[in-house]
Amino acid sequence: MPIHDQGYRRYQGDRAAAGRAWQVIAQAGVRGIISQRKFLFLLLLAWAPFIVRAVQVYLAANFQQASFLAPRADTFREFMDQQGVFVFFVTIYVGAGLIAADRRANALQLYLSKPLTRFEYVAGKMAILFLFLLLVTWAPAISLLVVQIAFAGSFTFFLAHLFLLPAITLFALVQILLAATTMLALSSMSKSSRFVGIMYAGVMFFTSALFNAVRGITRSSGLAWISPSAALEQLGDVIFRLPPRYDLPPFVAGLTVLGLIAVSVLILERRVRGVEVVT
C-alpha cells in the first residue's frame, strides 16, 4: 500500500455556514500582526500619551495646585488629535500589506475559490485594521474618560459632558473608517507593501502641503477639503462641539470624507477579484 493511502480520508464532520469566513481572515491577520515585536512596541508607544494624560488627570484630581490641569471637553479632542500620529503609523504598518501581500502571492484566487464573497474578504481585512486602530484611538480615549471618573471619584465631569462618549466613539469611527478604506484601496492597487505605505504617506503629506500652500496664498482655509486630514479635523471639531478651525462648511468636510470612502470602496470593488482581466 502506498504511504499516501494513510494520509487521505474523506471528511464528514461539521461545516460552518457561509458568511463567517471574514472572522477567520480577521483572526489570522490579528494573530500575524501581534506576533511581531516591532508592532507591539508601536502599540505601546501609542499608549504613551494616555499615560501622560492619566497622570495629568490624577494630579488635577488630587492636588489643588495642579487644578489647572483638570480635563475639559477639548482635552479629549486634543488627545484624539494627538493620536492621529499613531493612526497614521498603525495604518501604514498594519494596512499596507493587507491586500498587496495577497496580490503579490496570488492569494486572491485562493481566497475567492473558497466559499466566501469579495465583500467578506475585504471585511476580514478591514476588521484587522479596524481593531488595531480602535486600540490607538477609541480605547485610550474611553480609558481616559474612565480614569477621569476614577481619579475624581465622581461622575460630575462625565455627566456634565455626556456628549463626550458618543463624540469619541463617532469621531473614532469616522477616522478609522476613512483611514482603513483609503489604505485598503491603496493596498489593492499594488503588489508592494512598501510602495503602498509610501503612497499613503505621500497622499497625506502632499494634500496637507497643498492645502497649506493654498491657504497661504489665498489667506483662507475654505479649501480645507483638499486635505483629508484637514477635513477630518474640521469634522472632529464639530463632533466635539468646538468652534471649527477652518472656514469650511462642516457638510463639505463630511462630503469630502464620504467621497473618499466611496472612491475607496469603488476601487476595492474593481481591484479585489479572483482574476485580473487585461483587455
Binding site: R10, G13, A105, S113, L116, V278
Partner: protein, 319 residues
C-alpha cells in the same frame, strides 16, 4: 470528526455530468476566450486538453465564478454557477496554474487556514491539514515557511489546500507545471489515486497529453475557445486500426497527399517523420503498396498504438 470510511460513490459510476456548460461564451475585449461552448464533464477524472490559449483556464475560472460569461449557463454538481456560487465553492477544490499561497505562513497553518475558510472547524481543519500534507508528500516540511518552498513543493501545497476540505470535485490547472520528472510522476500518481481510489471527481486542465492520458478516463479537447472533441479516451483513440511512424525518401509532401486521399489520417511529428493512422486491418502492407505505387522508399516504419496525441492532433487539425 473526520470519517475514515471508503467513499460511497466511486468515481465514474454515475453518468450525470458533474459540470455542464450550455452555449457559454466569454469575451476579453476583442478576443473570445470561449465561443459558444457546450460540454459535459462526467464523474471521475476528466482531462481538459488544449494548446495554450485554447480557453481551458478561462473555462475553469468561469466555473469558479471569477469570470462572468457573456452568454450561456453553467452548472457544477447540479448547482447553477450564477445562482449558487458559494455552495459550489464549498464543494470544490481549486489548484490554480500559477504560484499561489497566503504569505507569512508555514505549510500546516496555511492548509488549516484554507480548511477554515472552507467552513471546517479550527480543530478539524488542523487535523486535516496534517493528514493532507502527509498525503501530498510534504509531511516532513509542514512547519517550513511557504516562501522557502521549491517549485515542486509549491505545486504540492496547492494540491493540499485544494484537498483539505475534502471536495467533491477538484479543478486542477496545469498541476505538473515546473516539476522535475520524479515530482511530476508522483503528482500524477496522487491525482490518479484521488480520482480512482478516493472517489474525488476531478477536471485536469493541461496541455501535456501524457499527464491527461495517465490520469484521466475522459477528455474534452479545446481549441481556439471551442470544444474540438470530447469523449472517453479509449473510444477517441479508436477501436480498430494501427498507427505507424513513417519516414520516406522521395517526395514526402506528395506522399502525404496520397495518404490523405486514401482516407488515412496523418500528421507530422518531427521534421521528416509522420504518424499515419491506418483504419481496419489493412496494416503496414497497405502503406508499402502505396509507397511502391508512388515511387517512394520507406526508410522507417514503426507500428504504434493510437495515443491521445493522435486524438489531439486530429481534433485541433494539426497537419
Amino acid at each position: 470528526m473526520p470519517d475514515t470510511s471508503i467513499p460511497a460513490a466511486p468515481a465514474g459510476q454515475d453518468t450525470d455530468p458533474v459540470v455542464s456548460l450550455q452555449g457559454v461564451s466569454v469575451n476579453y475585449g476583442k478576443n473570445w476566450a470561449l465561443r459558444d461552448v457546450t460540454a459535459g464533464f462526467r464523474p471521475g477524472a476528466v482531462g481538459l486538453l488544449g494548446p495554450n490559449g485554447a480557453g481551458k483556464s478561462t473555462m475553469l475560472k468561469a466555473l469558479l465564478g471569477f469570470v462572468v460569461p457573456d452568454q450561456g449557463t453553467m452548472t457544477v454538481l447540479g448547482l447553477d454557477v450564477a445562482a449558487s456560487p458559494l455552495e459550489i465553492r464549498s464543494r470544490i477544490g481549486y489548484m490554480p496554474e500559477n504560484d499561489a499561497h497566503v504569505p507569512g505562513m508555514n505549510a500546516v497553518s496555511f492548509v488549516a487556514y484554507c480548511g477554515q475558510l472552507s467552513g471546517l472547524p479550527a480543530a478539524d481543519a488542523m487535523q486535516r491539514a496534517h493528514e493532507v500534507l502527509y498525503y501530498v508528500g510534504l509531511g516532513e516540511a509542514r512547519y517550513r515557511n511557504l516562501e522557502t518552498y521549491s517549485t515542486g513543493m509549491k505545486q504540492r501545497i496547492k494540491l493540499a489546500q485544494a484537498l483539505v476540505h475534502d471536495p467533491d470535485l477538484l479543478f486542477l490547472d496545469e498541476p505538473t507545471n515546473g516539476m522535475d520528472p520524479k515530482g511530476r510522476d508522483e503528482m500524477l500518481e496522487l491525482i490518479y489515486d484521488l480520482a480512482h481510489n478516493k472517489g474525488v471527481n476531478l477536471i485536469l486542465s493541461s496541455h501535456l497529453l501524457p499527464d491527461v492520458e495517465f490520469t484521466c478516463d475522459y477528455v474534452v479537447v479545446m481549441d481556439k475557445g471551442r470544444v474540438a472533441t470530447e469523449g472517453p479516451i479509449d473510444a477517441l483513440k479508436g477501436p480498430g486500426g494501427r498507427v505507424y511512424e513513417l519516414r520516406v525518401k522521395g517526395d514526402a509532401h506528395a506522399f502525404l497527399g496520397v495518404l490523405r486521399a486514401q482516407g488515412y489520417d496523418c500528421h507530422d511529428t518531427d521534421e521528416d517523420v509522420m504518424r499515419v493512422f491506418v483504419p481496419g486491418d489493412a496494416g503496414a502492407q497497405a502503406l508499402f503498396a502505396l509507397a511502391t505505387r508512388e515511387g517512394v522508399q520507406v526508410r522507417h516504419l514503426r507500428p504504434s498504438v493510437p495515443t491521445l496525441e493522435d486524438v489531439f492532433a486530429r481534433a485541433v487539425g494539426e497537419r
